[in-house]
Amino acid sequence: MVPEATPLSAARQGAPLRGDALRPVASPSARGETFAVVRALVIVGVLALLWISRGTRGDGAGDAAELGFAPWQRAFATLPAGLQRDLRELHEAGEEAVRWRGDHGGWPTSAELAALAIAPFAPRPGAPPRAFVRSDAPWLIQYLGHAEGARALLLQVLEPRPGENEGEGGTPLPPDEQHRILPDGKVLHVSYWIGPEPQGDSTPRGVFLADPARHGFEQVLFGSPAATPSAEAR
């Protein structure tokens, strides 16, 4: 048996009693107890709201910032289904254009891509036609396509300047979605963009866009942000 080590057991055993050990405990008043409960509820409520807002932040700029995107970048997964379809096709077309570049040494015209039935260069049955124009600036190739009532689509490819090929000299390339290597070792930067909403789109048609973001274009990133560093997006 373990003896109780309380003042009462000590008194029973004849030990001297300490006065402060028997201080009466006052029960809280109904008002005080209500206040304590309300305070606890407020704390729980605030924490819950913080948690909920963390999980349901919008899919716009806030979400992009959270993902580590630049202000002009947008995640493919956040786009509406129709636009996702357009971009999925543009992604495939970008792949084909790069293959053409590797096979032929130059870039295909929009008509050449359309002739191979490669959407969105080839007309989509039942949809307004999308007119693509290719513009070439030194080391930069753009395919810009406008369609009535739809956001513009832009495929942009950056070629290396002579003597500036990335990855040469043993520097490994980042494993991201923008770098593509041609059979001759040249490293390309391929990016995909969507224009502003059609009603506010004042982009000049058929011209080279030196800085698409300045014209309200958004670069679409398909993969994880960790694999697509924003610093080299433009």
Binding site: A77, R85, E92, R99, L116, A117
Partner: protein, 308 residues
């Protein structure tokens, strides 16, 4: 003096022998280098068809890791399947949750030199209907198949550069074949009046999206899970509310449940292939996907327009 000369001659002879030995070792062909036939294992049927299409005419071996009659969703690893991994050079896997069983098999096989390829990395992914994870059915789509074929071609060419030109030519021809099937179906589906449909499971999201269609209701609560009575009732309610007239199902969904949905929702049921069971053949993907495209047309285009 003579002793010193003897030592010098001995030392020079040793150096010559050592250099000669090194030289002969460099000239010997490597036992299992890049010239040896590449052994590629795949977890899913589409990967088999795509890889076979790429490597046609070369000595690359393509090996299915699962028996043909088992869907990856219900597969339980067997010792004889683990054995297939032991001497593989390359493994082609989904990597988005569709073949997670492979991780334990890899550990058991102990093949540390295996190179893993995940073609899903080459495609933009969609979010699953339930939860936040990516939809792992990236292989049920023409567009995705083309991009994933190109990805596999690039990666295999790195491993066997001597076959790069053949891989490239084959992949291009295969992509054109798939694109033709897709373009014909897109033409037939251009004037679909009701692009919103119901599906039994989430696997057809990529296929539907590339034809401008949308799965407004997905009946299974998660991939491969049979819905409870309450979940089935809720799905039927949603199909009625959305006024959907077409349900796409897979072969394996329980027929009695399907009959309940068909009767109560008043919608027509059509079967789409998951390209997930049956013999591993070179043309399985294109054949079953062509049939899927034909099913979409039959289900959504009135007979007068579809030519029936």
């Amino acid at each position: 003096m003579a002793r010193w000369v003897d030592r010098l001659v001995f030392a020079l002879s040793a150096v010559v022998l050592l250099l000669g030995g090194t030289g002969s070792a460099q000239e010997a062909p490597p036992a299992a280098g890049p010239t040896a036939p590449l052994r590629v294992g795949v977890t899913l049927h589409p990967y088999f068809s795509w890889t076979r299409a790429i490597v046609a005419g070369t000595d690359v071996e393509v090996r299915s890791l699962l028996p043909g009659d088992v869907d990856a969703g219900s597969y339980q690893p067997r010792p004889e399947d683990v054995a297939k991994l032991k001497d593989l050079d390359v493994l082609v896997r989904n990597g988005l949750g569709h073949d997670d069983f492979i991780a334990a098999m890899l550990t058991a096989a102990g093949n540390s030199s295996l190179r893993q390829l995940t073609p899903s990395d080459a495609t933009p992914t969609l979010q699953g209907a339930h939860g936040e994870a990516a939809n792992s059915h990236t292989f049920i789509s023409f567009t995705n198949a083309i991009q994933q074929t190109y990805y596999l071609e690039r990666e295999l060419a790195k491993l066997r550069p001597q076959h790069a030109a053949t891989f490239h030519r084959n992949a291009t021809a295969y992509a054109r074949k798939l694109r033709k099937i897709k373009a014909d179906a897109a033409l037939a589906l251009a004037e679909v009046a009701q692009p919103r449909v119901a599906t039994v499971h989430d696997g057809y999201a990529y296929l539907l999206q590339e034809f401008g269609l949308e799965a407004a209701v997905v009946i299974e609560p998660a991939h491969g899970l049979v819905p409870s009575a309450a979940e089935l009732a809720a799905a039927i309610g949603s199909i009625r509310r959305e006024q959907l007239t077409v349900i796409f199902t897979e072969e394996g969904f329980p027929a009695p449940l399907l009959e309940v949905v068909r009767r109560e929702a008043g919608a027509a049921v059509h079967v789409l292939s998951h390209v997930a069971t049956g013999d591993y053949t070179d043309d399985k993907f294109e054949r079953e996907m062509a049939e899927n495209a034909a099913v979409l047309v039959r289900a959504l285009v009135p007979p007068t327009k579809s030519g029936e």
